[in-house]
């Protein structure tokens, strides 16, 4: 008898659960899609939709770079290359090369955290696609630059550095 009961229970359960599942998928039909029609039909410019503190492609403000090379040392995958040379007459310590290989970068954020002035920071830019590999290595120093010297009296505070406005607590 139990086999017969199981037979009809199977039919009943299958019918009811399929009916229930269909009602769920039908109710999905009437809900608002969550698709963001990137890039051409977004509700607002895509850069405004990216939250604060997003770790995008690295950018450097060479005017406040102290050339301390903390970022270069802390990078786990050797993405950053900084060259400091004595240039000119009299020889002066100058920042002559600052390159970032975006193709190799894994956007971990360790460099921007170790930067004392916030010169290297994550921009919100994320559209790094390029048809040329060379475009992915970015250089930030054209002419040799005198490294920035932070004022002795005040230490750079959290609220002042660009990194901090980028959502980075110290």
């Amino acid at each position: 008898m139990s086999a017969v009961a199981a037979y009809f229970r199977n039919i009943r359960e299958a019918t009811l659960t399929v009916f229930d599942g269909m009602s769920v998928s039908l109710s999905y039909l009437f809900r608002k899609p969550i698709t963001v029609q990137y890039p051409d039909r977004t509700p607002q410019p895509i850069l405004d939709m990216i939250p604060e503190g997003y770790r995008g492609i690295l950018d450097v403000k060479t005017e406040i770079c102290t050339a301390c090379m903390a970022c270069m040392r802390t990078c786990p995958v050797q993405v950053i290359n900084i060259v400091v040379e004595k240039v000119g007459d009299p020889p002066k310590r100058m920042l002559t090369h600052f390159g970032i290989n975006v193709a190799k970068c894994m956007f971990c954020g360790l460099c921007s955290e170790s930067c004392p002035t916030g010169a290297i920071y994550h921009s919100k830019e994320f559209e790094g696609a390029s048809s040329r590999f060379d475009d992915l290595v970015r250089f930030f120093v054209d002419q040799p630059v005198v490294p920035y010297k932070p004022p002795k009296t005040e230490k750079p505070e959290a609220g002042e550095t660009p990194a901090a406005t980028n959502g980075e607590p110290t």
Partner: protein, 376 residues
């Protein structure tokens, strides 16, 4: 001819499943020996995603390895972060501020939910239902948004630091998390009505690939796969770390929801129930989280005195154990990572005889195998 490629039966055929197969969840290869649809033997072949993470670890300082620990298991990066943090901090004796502890637990539990969503979603996709996958990914998207606000990235978060976390939780992030916690349980109920209680789904999974308690222990299964066999073992309870002892949550185990204890459906249900528990944990953490420091003082280049230690944490897939040997340098001498997908893979040769190809796909899904975690 390698041993794995020989055929035993006279009518059997050799079938290569993977490395590029939609249901192997990454680049894993199964060499199947089948008699028509019935599998006589399934041999997993691993190594297609080997990246040498353990070797990389010996070249980097302890803090530099943090972003690499994301990549151990990229579906649950926070758990990898947490495992590495716990391992190094316990070895170096670093105290972590309480607020940071709570933030870590929130992040890890949210990530556990998102990882389980991927697991159950792709599992449903393997069994043939496409909509549940997308529904699960929609919920995961909300978690991704929250973790993006918290850490700045959507997949490989690199949120935790030795001695704390990198950022504080903003008000918006907190509100979004609370909103998600309100929205998620009913949405998961609805997901259950859509697929979990479906008779076809149950018929496909019940009594398939039953792993008994003894087998589960013998093959070293852990995490949800172990609990699916009815063993109440969770490192968050049995070897507690961080603030888990203070939190009130259940450890769901397989109870034979539709068939025998330890079948595919039980492993699936354990994951579904764990998501409800994780919601509870995150809720409690949001309430209990004190104000305070985010990180304790840790040397920028940490040196750990010579010694070795094995630390294990409960990742979304089970035990993630990290074994560090230090010789007192700024880099570890040797790092070994124990992941649960690898041990789950070992039971396939035992389970597969007699299954059909469709069952094998479901079994791979039910063990929630993630390829990068196997090969590292």
């Amino acid at each position: 001819m390698p041993e794995e490629l020989t055929i035993n039966g006279p009518d059997n055929m050799l079938l290569n499943m993977g490395p590029q197969h939609p249901s192997t969840h990454g680049v894993i290869r199964f060499v199947l020996e089948t008699d028509g649809e019935v599998v006589a033997k399934a041999t997993p072949v691993v190594g297609y995603l080997h990246r040498g993470v353990e070797k990389i670890a010996t070249e980097l300082t302890y803090s530099q390895f943090m972003p690499i620990s994301d990549r151990l298991d990229y579906v649950a990066s926070m758990c990898g972060n947490l495992a590495w943090c716990e391992a190094v901090e316990r070895m170096a004796g670093i105290e972590v501020p309480r607020r940071a502890q709570f933030l870590r637990v929130i992040a890890a539990e949210l990530n556990r939910i998102s990882s389980h969503l991927v697991a159950v979603g792709s599992f449903c996709n393997d069994v043939g239902g496409v909509t549940p996958l997308v529904v699960a990914l929609r919920e995961r998207e909300a978690i991704n948004d929250i973790l993006e606000l918290l850490s700045g990235a959507r997949l490989t978060y690199n949120y935790m630091r030795l001695g704390g976390v990198s950022r504080d939780m903003s008000d918006k992030c907190r509100q979004d998390t609370a909103a998600f916690l309100d929205h998620f349980p009913p949405a998961l109920d609805e997901f259950n009505r859509l697929i979990t209680y479906n008779k076809i789904f149950i018929k496909r999974l019940a009594d398939i690939a039953v792993v008994t308690q003894e087998e589960a222990k013998a093959y070293g299964l852990n995490g949800p796969n172990l609990r699916g066999s009815g063993i109440r073992f969770d490192l968050r309870r049995n070897d507690p770390y961080s603030v888990y002892p203070e939190l009130d949550f259940e450890i769901p185990v397989g109870e034979g929801f539709a068939g025998q204890v330890g079948d595919c459906y039980d492993r699936y249900m354990v994951r579904i129930n764990e998501m409800y528990e994780s919601v509870k944990i995150v809720r409690q953490c949001l309430e209990m989280m004190p104000d305070g420091e985010l990180t304790s003082k840790v040397a920028r280049v940490l040196k750990i005195k010579a010694g070795e230690r094995y630390t294990r944490t409960e990742s979304a897939r089970g035990e993630m154990g990290i074994y560090i040997v230090s010789k007192g340098d700024k880099t570890p001498y040797r790092v070994r990572v124990r992941t649960s997908s690898y041990s789950a893979l070992s039971i396939f040769e035992k389970l597969s005889p007699g299954l059909m190809i469709a069952d094998l796909v479901a079994v791979i899904g039910s063990f929630d195998i993630v390829a990068p975690e196997i090969d590292r």
